[in-house]
């Protein structure tokens, strides 16, 4: 092996010092840039996957959803804008489909809403099993713009399409002994693809006192912004009781039963010291762990003061005359 002696190499062949030094800098710079690009991409990916997975899917728009601006003007409560359709249908508590606000809009698409029956039974003279479309034929739905207040401290203004529950109850003729109405959500993982989590005991159940159920404000809603209810909002039929916290407005109803005793209510069973049977919106009665004095209206920046009975005191306070609302919370 012939090793060239140092002076065999011409001095003009020696790499210029500047080039030698700058090449090293270039290599380092390239390595640094790659490291920064690679690491920040990895961090971004981790952030999205681990910490912020819920909001990553594009939220589904309703089929033929009306323009939000036009809708708000047409249906707003005086002085309060209706919450945009996009927000109403993409921010939902529907624990059967996930315990975050964004999963229901994705997963509830699996909910099979036809055929769907609603059984009305119990202490009634004329029990009946209705097809859900039969109900909207018998009782003409009307537009009702209601405030909606979640127990968590956020609220919306929603233009529901529905008929008063009282009309259905009058038709089935409650008997004298009936004091409460019990409601039940669909529970059919095989047939209807609901529920899909083990977050709470299923089926989700709720109840109202008979006079609350017969009140003109109490609505069985089949639509929203003039369109049929999206699955994540409780298709095809849900209850709306605007003066109570939102969890009382049970979704995807399959059964109503008239009963004599106070029926079970899922959140009340889950944490009886936190969620009472009545759960009337009341800024003076805090949740044990957080205050109910203010709420964040979705779409607004600051918080607004919560109103007694969610602003429906004139209409419903009479139902609770003489009741200690701190005890019957």
């Amino acid at each position: 092996m012939l090793i060239k002696k140092p002076d065999d190499i011409k001095s003009s062949e020696i790499t210029d010092r500047k080039v030698y030094a700058s090449r090293r800098v270039f290599m380092r710079g390239a390595a640094f840039a790659a490291a920064f690009a690679g690491s920040t991409a990895a961090t971004g990916f981790l952030y999205r996957r681990l910490l912020a997975p819920e909001i990553q899917q594009p939220t589904p728009s309703g089929k033929a959803a009306p323009g939000t601006q036009a809708a708000a003007r047409q249906w707003g409560l005086p002085g309060e804008e209706a919450t945009p359709y996009q927000d109403v249908t993409s921010y939902n508590n529907f624990y059967e489909f996930g315990t975050d606000k964004y999963s229901p809009a994705r997963r509830a698409r699996a909910l099979v809403t036809r055929p769907w029956t609603v059984a009305v039974e119990g202490l009634v003279n004329r029990p009946q099993v209705f097809d859900v479309d039969e109900l909207t034929r018998l009782f003409t739905p009307e537009d009702r713009v209601y405030r909606f207040r979640c127990v968590e401290g956020w609220s919306m203004v929603i233009p529901w399409l529905g008929f008063p529950l009282a009309e259905l109850l009058k038709r089935v003729e409650p008997q004298g002994g009936a004091q409460y109405v019990a409601f039940e959500t669909a529970n059919d993982p095989e047939g209807r693809n609901i529920p899909q989590t083990g977050a709470l005991p299923w089926p989700y159940v709720e109840g109202l006192r008979l006079d609350e159920a017969m009140h003109p404000l109490t609505l069985l809603a089949s639509g929203l912004y003039g369109e049929p209810l999206p699955a994540q909002n409780g298709a095809p039929l849900r209850l709306v009781v605007p003066w109570k916290y939102g969890f009382k407005s049970i979704k995807s109803i399959v059964r109503l039963r008239l009963v004599a005793q106070m029926p079970p209510a899922t959140w009340n069973l889950q944490a009886p010291d936190e969620y009472g049977f009545f759960s009337n919106v009341n800024p003076a009665v805090p949740h044990p762990r957080w205050s109910q004095a203010t709420e964040r209206r979705i779409g607004e920046f600051g918080r607004r003061p919560t109103l007694p009975f969610n602003g429906y005191a004139d209409e419903v306070a009479g139902l609770y005359a003489g009741m200690d609302l701190k005890y019957y919370f």
């Binding site: 999205r48 912020a52 909001i55 993409s90 921010y91 762990r289 203010t294």
Partner: protein, 209 residues
């Protein structure tokens, strides 16, 4: 590797990625229907993440033998304080509109807010004494003892999270489990150090080396 400045810069830049993405999503209106709530929750989560990362440095250093890892610890700890301050700001600004009387009322009535305040304010002396000059002033031993407050802050942070969720305790419990591992490691490390330091065993013989 001797290029500690490079690694510090890498950690510095990457620690800002979540904030940058948060800002980007905010600007694009992609934070969902309740963006303020999302920002509040995310800054809180990031505070806990950085507290856990800070506490992970020492076990990692001991397990890998890479002593220079400890030079990243201050940076990570300060980022925990940074995100904690942002989280507190979202509460004070978005929820309370800087109304100090309302805040005081909340602190006295809501356990989770009191615990959250504790978690943040135990980080404050740590941030203040994080500089080289402060380390010299306090002296290594005193500084180390003070900075054990990190454990208090992390525990309070996890408790704060647990107290505020409605019913799904999965995420707080995951953080609690991770924290238990990191604190458990320290307990084990200090216990075995004490064992080795014992001059005599129960039988009166020195322990085998």
């Amino acid at each position: 590797m001797k290029d500690i400045k490079f690694y510090k810069l890498l950690v510095f830049v990457n620690s800002l990625v979540p904030l940058a993405l948060l800002g980007w999503d905010w600007w694009r209106g992609q934070l969902g229907a309740n963006p303020l709530d999302f920002i509040t929750r995310m800054t809180g989560t990031l505070t806990l993440v950085f507290l856990l990362l800070t506490l992970a440095v020492t076990p990692l250093r001991k397990l890998t033998g890479l002593q220079w890892l400890v030079r990243l610890r201050r940076l990570l700890g300060l980022y925990a304080f940074f995100y904690g301050a942002l989280h507190l700001l979202t509460y004070v600004w978005f929820d309370k509109a800087f109304a100090l009387a309302d805040i005081a009322q909340d602190v006295t009535r809501r356990w989770f807010i009191l615990v959250g305040m504790l978690a943040f304010f135990t980080m404050l002396p740590l941030a203040v004494t994080s500089t080289d000059r402060m380390i010299k002033r306090l002296g290594g031993k005193r500084w180390q003892k003070l900075h054990r407050l990190t454990y208090v802050s992390a525990l309070a942070g996890v408790l704060h999270y647990y107290l505020l969720v409605k019913s799904d305790t999965t995420k707080p419990l995951v953080f609690a489990a991770l924290l238990a591992v990191l604190l458990g490691y320290r307990l084990y490390a200090s216990y075995s150090k004490r064992l080795k330091a014992k001059p005599l065993s129960l039988t009166g013989q020195p322990p085998p080396r």
